[in-house]
């Protein structure tokens, strides 16, 4: 193959890579052409050719900067946002599915809409701790740390979240702000309201419980309080997911085991009580496949 033919074939290759969007590969191929031309000063029009190839390389470099730059995520149409929300909510439990949908919106950069969804969840008392944390994440993703702080302050002065939840949220927000290099003095959480109002809502109804603490009475973590988010609640039976990796925990929380020291967290209150493990089922499908669903019957609050 003559030098001219070699250059022609390399240029053809580089053009094809460029047409395929393989800009780095196209640039590498043009660099080969350039090196070859530079080594052949007697090549006809070599200066002109060198200049033309260098121009193409510059163009590709500009293109590569664009490709490597973090993509700007636009606000998608509400229809597309709904599609994302529906496609990425996998759980059968409606509340967990709603949380997954909202999280998907956030992961795809639809923070404003995600905020809306998390606020709805929090208002309905669904997974409040997770909803609240995600609301703060969205504010920070929207570059509004002040909104996150204002929101936290509103929660502290309101009664949507329990003291324990607010303390966790405070630590969480503090951590987020520190990572962003923002120093803020977040107000401490006050004591919750009177305990008699805490454990029951309307007469005979158990309040919606968002998370639960269980003090273990056996196993290596004996005496320790372990906390779980409640994924489902039907009357006085709550369900929590325990990872299959938590073998000791699963062993300690056998069916019919009485749990004498429990703490129940609801959006408006915390109460102590006892419960009994009324069921333990292995999850057969979905993202939590292999983990265990524990049903706990609340015996007194």
């Amino acid at each position: 193959m003559s030098g001219q033919e070699y250059i022609k074939s390399l240029i053809k290759e580089a053009e094809l890579y460029q047409s395929q969007g393989l800009l780095a590969q196209s640039k590498d191929t043009y660099l080969k052409v350039l090196a070859f031309v530079k080594k052949s000063p007697n090549f006809r029009n070599h200066k002109k050719l060198e200049g033309a190839i260098a121009d193409r390389i510059r163009g590709l470099e500009e293109g590569l900067v664009g490709v490597n730059r973090p993509a700007l995520v636009p606000d998608l149409d509400p229809e597309v946002q709904n599609l994302i929300k529906n496609l990425f909510s996998f759980s059968e439990d409606q509340n967990t599915a709603a949380m997954e949908g909202a999280m998907a919106l956030a992961r795809f950069g639809q923070y404003e809409r995600a905020l809306e969804e998390f606020r709805k969840l929090l208002k309905r008392g669904i997974l409040p701790l997770a909803a609240a944390k995600n609301i703060l994440r969205c504010h920070l993703a929207l570059s509004s740390p002040n909104d996150a702080i204002d929101q936290y302050e509103r929660w502290v002065s309101g009664n949507q979240l329990s003291k324990q939840q607010l303390e966790k949220i405070r630590d969480f927000l503090q951590g987020l702000l520190e990572r962003k290099g923002i120093k803020a003095s977040l107000p401490a959480v006050d004591e919750p309201g009177p305990p008699e109002a805490l454990n029951r809502g309307k007469e005979g109804d158990v309040l919606d419980i968002s998370s639960v603490g269980i003090r273990l009475s056996e196993g290596p973590r004996k005496g320790k309080m372990v906390e779980f988010d409640v994924t489902f609640q039907s009357g006085d039976v709550i369900s929590v997911v325990v990872s299959a990796d938590e073998k000791e925990l699963l062993e300690a929380l056998k069916e019919n085991v009485v749990l004498p020291d429990m703490q129940f967290y609801s959006p408006i209150a915390i109460f102590k009580g006892r419960g009994v493990v009324s069921g333990k089922t292995k999850i057969r499908s979905g993202p939590k496949q292999g983990d265990y669903m524990l049903d706990i019957k609340i015996e007194s609050g």
Partner: protein, 204 residues
């Protein structure tokens, strides 16, 4: 994570087109959208692309009609192939029932194919799924470039690189022309339905 609605006898499953960036995953879906009009259950949605690079995912719903008395619905997705979109790939792969791995036949993409296949294996493992057990089909795309004297990897080498351990069905293809696209999808659907029959103990 196929959904089987026993009451209405509807099965919904999810197939994800996976592979290195610029390998032709979106082009596969575009061809399917154009060619399989009868099976189309809705429009193809390309969610936020930058130029012609997929940033999020593409989505195409299909209906296969009744099989053994069940209405079978299939959702086809693509993932963004670029390495930096790892978290989006994981997310789109969640709940997947079957995978079409679209490999790029260009010689310069040989390593990218292998890295992407390994990435698939890892992401499946995170979902407690094995690449050796999930319905999987390989597609060796861009075979047409050989006609333009472009350096492409011979099929036997692609088989050795990507399929020597997996031993799954593989198809040469040109997604741009549509060659091999239908065969790939059909083989994947066949494997998926067979797998679901076993998983869901679904009989007529």
């Amino acid at each position: 994570m196929a959904i089987f609605n026993a009451k209405n006898r509807i099965i919904e499953c999810k197939i994800v087109y996976y592979g290195p960036g610029r390998g032709g995953k979106t082009t596969n879906l575009e061809y399917i959208h154009k060619a399989f009009t009868k099976q189309r259950a809705g429009e193809m949605v390309s969610i936020d692309t930058q130029g012609d690079r997929t940033l999020f995912f593409d989505f195409l719903p299909m209906g296969l009609g009744k099989i053994r008395g069940c209405d079978v619905k299939v959702q086809l997705y693509t993932v963004p192939g670029q390495v930096k979109y790892a978290s989006t790939r994981k997310m789109v792969l969640k709940g997947v029932d079957a995978v079409v791995f679209v490999a790029d036949s260009l010689e310069i993409r040989r390593k990218a194919n292998m890295l992407s296949l390994r990435d698939l294996q890892q992401n499946l493992a995170e979902q407690k799924k094995s690449i050796f057990k999930i319905p999987l089909v390989l597609q060796y795309n861009k075979r047409d470039l050989a006609e333009q004297d472009m350096p492409i990897v011979p099929l036997n080498v692609m088989e050795r690189d990507l399929n020597s351990k997996l031993k799954v069905p593989s198809f040469p293809a040109s997604a741009l022309r549509g060659t091999g696209v239908g065969a790939t999808l059909k083989a994947c659907l066949k494997l998926t339905l067979h797998h679901l029959q076993k998983e869901l103990k679904w009989a007529g």
